[in-house]
Amino acid sequence: MKFMNTKRFASTVMAGVLTLSLAVPAFAASTQPKNSTVVEGTYKEIPIAVEVPTTGTAQINPYGLPVTITKSDDKTVSLVGQKITTQPLSIKNQGTTKLDVNASVTVATKGDVSIGTTAGTDKMIAVSLEVAPMSDDTLAVASDSEKLADLLIDKFADAASWKNAAKVNVTAADTAADSANTLAVLGAVTPKAEGFNYSKNSIALFRLTGDLAAEPEDTSGAADPWKETDGFTATVVFKFTPHADVAASVTLDKTTLSLDSTTNSNGTITATFDAGESGLTVTGYAWTSSAPTVASVAGTTVTGAVTYVTAGTANITCTATLSDGSTVTSSACVVTCA
């Protein structure tokens, strides 16, 4: 019976709280000036969905001995000649937002190992983080594709994949992280009924690489061979931020142009098109004068021919029509006619 009373009491309190919570906006509204609009702005967090391995393994491999990796079909590939050999690692964007990849690396050493920007004659290792963005149609597979892991092993073992890899060099051990921004741009995925499809550039490979002496010496010049107790742990922290595509643009070679009615009555302006990350091309150029009665402009190519008409100023712009039908207009060149 006593329990029932408590329940009733609780529900009464709850009803009171609800009533108050609904009443508050009304009270607030009463203080707002008439004929006004309150616009509430809130931050909408962009979900970051990137698969990043929590651990990885590497070897200090003084002689670059082959490290064999077995794929799901029992075929093998070898990583050869790498003095720091990392097992395949990748980051995979699994979200619908294109992402910039930033990273920092901190290295803690074990044994007699030290870290430097170049390999020493002693056990000083130069370590770098390499991030290689992929752009390959074969990687545009479904999220549940069984062949993706093998494809990534092949890509990881292929030296060509690392040709344009971005690098973060570790400058010292046990100190603040060395970092770099925009090491890669990960393309967004395309959702489907179940799971999603990776785009050809949703994935980037990463590894530790570096240099070291095969037969190190101590400070007295005596041999100080590598020991099994030598090693290091590198902590890589990736930071993902939404990528802002660089849009197509048109720029003019001049911001101002002076003409007169006598010796300098004509001039030219040249436009330069930058596709940015749009992948578009230009199908045509059009030149416009804001005041054709002051200065006229003619042209259908990257060159606009400007002619003095009368004294005054006019803004000349160039508009490029792009391969998708859209247009992009330059900022103005101010033509002063004296």
């Binding site: 990885g56 990463f206 061979p225 290091f232 742990t233 590198a234 922290v237 990736f238 993902f240």
Partner: protein, 218 residues
């Protein structure tokens, strides 16, 4: 039931306690990877015969060695080394020669061509890379070559590095082609010296091998 709920809650709480510090270090848009690197040391293992016999045979009598009859002036038993290493090995050699005590022979620095009056023997060391675990006579050089061979001299220890590179074990863990090397002492001797050859004549040769790993190049 109450106990089960309590213990489950406790387990979740403990789990949270452990995961929280790591997660707390990263912002919502950060992810971390810890890469552990350990040193990989090469396996250097080469089987090398501990001893071999060399016979000075000035008159080129037939000599039975390893079931084969030979008529060389310097006859050496077959010797093959094999690499069981996982890294290519550059082979360096140092040869130290000494005439046996009581002998009045000397070691010549150049081939005797069997002629002369001094009791001299010209002995050189030869090593050849091979695919076989037994000696193939066809692999030996037909004559002494100063660019490839080391002359055995009294009281000196000439050495040469990088005479050949032994290949590492193949992917099946077997000695690879080029993982063997056959070596020998060869040469010639003055056939009829003024002081005749006798039982006291002979040489002791110490051959010391150095194996240096060769780095793979990507």
């Amino acid at each position: 039931m109450k106990r089960k709920v309590l213990s489950s809650a406790l387990a979740v709480l403990i789990l949270l306690c452990f995961t929280q510090p790591a997660a707390a270090l990263l912002l919502p848009n950060q992810r971390g990877t810890a890469i552990t690197a350990i040193a990989r040391l090469p396996i250097i293992s080469v089987s090398v015969p501990a001893s071999a016999d060399v016979l000075i045979n000035p008159f080129q009598f037939p000599v039975e060695i390893d079931g084969e009859s030979r008529r060389d002036q310097i006859v050496c038993t077959d010797a093959v080394m094999s690499s069981y290493s996982d890294v290519p090995l550059s082979v360096g050699v140092q040869v130290t020669g000494a005439v046996k005590e009581g002998s009045d022979m000397t070691l010549a620095a150049t081939p005797t061509n069997k002629a002369g009056t001094a009791k001299e023997a010209f002995v050189y060391f030869e090593i050849v890379q091979s695919n076989y675990e037994e000696v193939r006579r066809s692999l030996w050089a037909e004559a002494y070559d100063p660019t490839k061979h080391i002359v055995v001299t009294e009281g000196e220890s000439p050495a040469r590095t990088d005479m050949l590179t032994l290949e590492p074990l193949n992917k099946y863990g077997e000695v690879a082609k080029g993982g063997h090397a056959q070596f020998r002492l060869a040469g010639d001797a003055v056939r009829k010296p003024e002081s005749e050859w006798n039982q006291k004549d002979g040489i002791d040769v110490m051959i010391a091998f150095t194996f240096t790993p060769v780095s793979y190049v990507s």
